[in-house]
């Protein structure tokens, strides 16, 4: 997607006047330089204009069950995204020795397994702890065309996988009292990281995140996924000292809070 064109759409006054569902973001930015503010609101750009009545998900409680419910919602999102992409034919089947299709078939299979695994972990779809799949709009009201434009699909895939890694990491503390669930979550977490590495490398990036850079070709709107990734002090140790800040930040992935992930996910929930 042409990023300039993308930002340009938010300079349209008519969009600014429409009632957004991102009420909090709206209020937060007030009247100060609205266009600029919109352009910097992660992932939320067109959602403001187009999603007046979104059925937002809310932050799950900081409990083991809450962590699983939260994880399930994210896995629903990823699972549906890849299933729709495979159905749409947007993923090239023959280039690079069929690499892209093989990669996304494998990722889709994992996400589907994760959904089933987490539903079972919550006690099945009849359980009181079960959460239903939200309704997703991966075009975000027509802003993205992930199932018609492969580069957009790749960009969103990268954003979802890097978000997934940070999201699971942020739930670790909520699972510390339930060792088996913690282990299972870690076992999903590292799969998401493998996915993220491969998708990033398909896009010509490094498999790891340098500083808080979203990387070439990523829409500015995805910056929320990378906010705070540039940390170079870990428990008081300067990770940038030996080889510089990029290497130091790459060596550690940072967590996202439940609310940060919810804010990202809600942009795709209608």
């Amino acid at each position: 997607m042409n990023i300039l064109k993308f930002i340009e759409t938010f300079t349209d006054d008519s969009l600014m006047r429409s009632t957004g569902s991102r009420r909090d973001s709206f209020n937060q930015f007030g009247n100060i330089g609205k266009t600029l503010a919109y352009a910097s609101i992660p992932f939320g750009l067109s959602a403001m204009a187009n999603k007046a009545f979104a059925k937002d998900i809310t932050a799950t409680p900081a409990t083991p069950i809450g962590a699983l419910q939260f994880a399930l919602t994210l896995e629903y999102l990823e699972n549906e995204f890849y299933a729709m992409a495979l159905d749409s034919g947007v993923i090239p089947a023959s280039e690079n020795g069929g690499r892209d299709l093989k990669v996304f078939q494998q990722i889709a299979a994992h996400e589907s397994s994760h959904v089933k695994f987490l539903i079972a972990g919550l006690g099945g779809s009849g359980s009181a702890n079960f959460v239903a799949k939200p309704t997703f709009d991966f075009t975000v009201g027509g802003t993205f065309n992930p199932f018609g434009d492969y580069q957009t699909f790749l960009a969103l895939a990268q954003a979802f996988e890097d978000t997934g890694v940070r999201a699971y990491k942020g739930q670790a503390g909520n699972l510390i009292t339930t060792p088996d669930l913690l282990t299972a979550a870690l076992q999903i977490h590292s799969v998401e990281a493998r996915h993220a590495s491969e998708v990033r490398r398909l896009r010509g990036l490094k498999g790891w995140i340098s500083n808080d850079e979203r990387g070439a070709g990523m829409p500015a709107a995805t910056q929320a996924v990378y906010a705070g990734e540039g940390v170079t002090v870990q428990a008081g140790f300067n990770t940038a000292a030996a080889f510089g800040a990029a290497a130091g930040s790459e060596a550690y992935d940072e967590p996202l809070t439940t609310q940060q992930v919810v804010d990202i996910a809600n942009l795709f929930i209608v």
Partner: protein, 249 residues
């Protein structure tokens, strides 16, 4: 070998006395102070051995248990990875055996693993009650017939080390009591998994091996998680410095 380390015997009575002093809240009394009547026998009889602390027991360094044990275990694994990639990037034929992308990846991995190793050394040195005797020494390694100038050998070993690292951290998470340490381990394990995927993809490009069915369960979509007792025999094949992990599962 340059970083060959002999683990020196520490007088066990001195060691126990120090622990006793710490546990009695008398650490500030200083190491030179010997408390009359606090004999080795008394320690054995009255003071249960604190197995959570790493250190030399019966002449061999033991990793300990609990958070210190897990961090020391991670430090041992990161020492191995850092040493391996240091040798990889310094190998005579590094520039000819690998293409640009491969060299970039292996150099990044060298940086990341050295940072992880030095991080654990610093973290443990700051957290252990008595790091001079409780910090795992610099380990010595022997890679046998591994040819560091062979692309095939290096990538196959890197794959094994990274997959092992992921399984080790995944298995160790539940042993960690402190949420802060758990998060730190989480910050590192996903980077190890990113490494594993990249190396696997170099070995077999245009495939699903980055997260292949050999490592990710096809029914649950879960990665591997292993206890230290399953990991150490694998990693131990390269580590020549003897140590034990008697108090880790």
């Amino acid at each position: 070998m340059k970083n060959e380390v002999k683990i020196h015997e520490v007088d066990p009575s001195l060691n126990n006395r120090r622990s006793f002093l710490k546990l009695s809240g008398l650490a500030l009394a200083g190491a030179g102070l010997v408390i009359a009547g606090c004999s080795n026998n008394d320690d054995d009889n009255n003071q249960p051995e604190d197995t959570s602390l790493p250190g030399v027991r019966n002449g061999v360094f033991d990793l300990g248990s609990g958070d210190f044990g897990v961090l020391t275990y991670a430090y041992a694994l990161e020492q191995l990875e850092a040493d391996f990639y240091t040798k990889v990037v310094n190998a005579t034929n590094f520039n000819s055996a690998f293409n640009d992308i491969e060299r970039q990846i292996l150099t990044d991995l060298y940086h990341h693993e050295v940072i992880h190793r030095d991080f654990f050394k610093a973290a443990l040195s700051g957290a252990l009650p008595n790091p001079s005797s409780q910090l795992l020494p610099t380990l010595a390694f022997n890679y046998g017939s591994l040819n560091f100038n062979s692309r095939t050998d290096v990538l196959a070993t890197a794959k094994a080390l990274e997959d092992t690292g992921v399984a080790a951290y995944n298995g160790a998470g539940k042993l960690i009591k402190s949420a802060d340490y758990l998060l730190l381990a989480g910050k590192i394990v996903s980077v190890e998994a990113r490494h594993a995927a990249a190396i696997r993809s170099l070995i077999n490009p245009n495939s699903k091996d980055f997260a292949g069915d050999d490592i990710i369960s096809t029914s649950t979509g879960l990665d591997v998680a292993k206890d230290p007792s399953k990991i150490l025999p694998i990693a131990g094949g390269f580590i020549t410095t003897k140590f034990t992990a008697k108090y880790l599962p």
